[in-house]
Assembly symmetry: C2
Homo-oligomer: 170 residues x 2
């Protein structure tokens, strides 16, 4: 079975992995959930090549996970938004975060993004349980504040990306 055939199985785990199993895909969804919607901005954070990012975005659009919205007529420019199918990946993002915090060296005092549950103000850490009233779960019920270290890391990526683009032009 090549990877293309995975989608033809009856197993829903394999089917969803055939759509989102690529590691870049969920990082793209993370960017969208952080409100980063433009090609260059996503690319700056992921550091993927234009070709790779463009392939992934097209595939996700084809699979109905994201959609493009025109935000500029001339030249035509698009922003990327998660569809309902894409937003339904929110619980998976939340659990990847919890797993990463627990098992992948969560050593800093400050989380990359501090999430709080809007309804109660509770901090959403790796042990937070999705309340039964909040299914299907959406990240919209959480407030997110980006920490200093992650903010710096992201600014640095933006800076390096702009620099490399400038060098391309010169």
């Amino acid at each position: 079975m090549g990877w293309d055939e995975v989608g033809s199985t009856v197993c829903p785990v394999a089917k969803s992995l055939s759509v989102i199993g690529d590691r870049w895909t969920l990082l793209i969804m993370r960017e969208l959930s952080l409100g980063v919607r433009r090609f260059d901005d996503i690319q700056a954070q992921l550091g993927a090549s234009s070709y790779l990012l463009s392939t992934r975005l097209k595939r996700l659009e084809k699979d109905g996970v994201i959609e493009r919205r025109l935000y500029n007529e001339k030249p035509q420019r698009y922003e990327y938004h998660a569809t309902a199918k894409g937003r339904a990946l929110d619980p998976i993002l939340l659990m990847l975060r919890a797993w990463g915090m627990t098992y992948c060296g969560h050593t800093d005092d400050e989380p990359a993004v501090t999430l709080t549950y809007k309804a109660t103000g509770e901090v959403v850490d790796e042990n937070w349980k999705i309340p039964e009233t909040e299914w299907p779960f959406s990240l919209d019920v959480l407030e997110s504040v980006m920490g200093e270290a992650f903010t710096k890391e992201r600014e640095e990526k933006r800076r390096l990306f702009r620099k490399s683009k400038k060098n391309e032009v010169n």
Copy 2:
């Protein structure tokens, strides 16, 4: 940023994807959760090359997600088991299943695997909510019965795999 650098971010989503972001990885974890533990049996179901599967298993072992256990002395043969870190991926597998059932063409009447919540006998479908008493969630609290179509699909894969191995030897 190449993929190797992703693990060095402060973001726990990116960190976990650097470990499990490969699409084969969660399929390996699915096999282990189904009780399939031997190299050839996993390979038959995934259809991955020996090289690819062996690379992924070694990487998962190094990352502490799975462990090898000797089951035969001569010749030395190992089975693969999920560690606590690997079992902590159970909620992610469950949510991938729910997402796949909802959005990736769940057309059959019969699910690939029928899961029921042992405590109540409830069927665990795509709308099932993890009870707040069951966090951290483990698939052990569910009973699984493989459906006819998925059983057939898997038998066929085993058959084809054995045939192809036989042809290699001849």
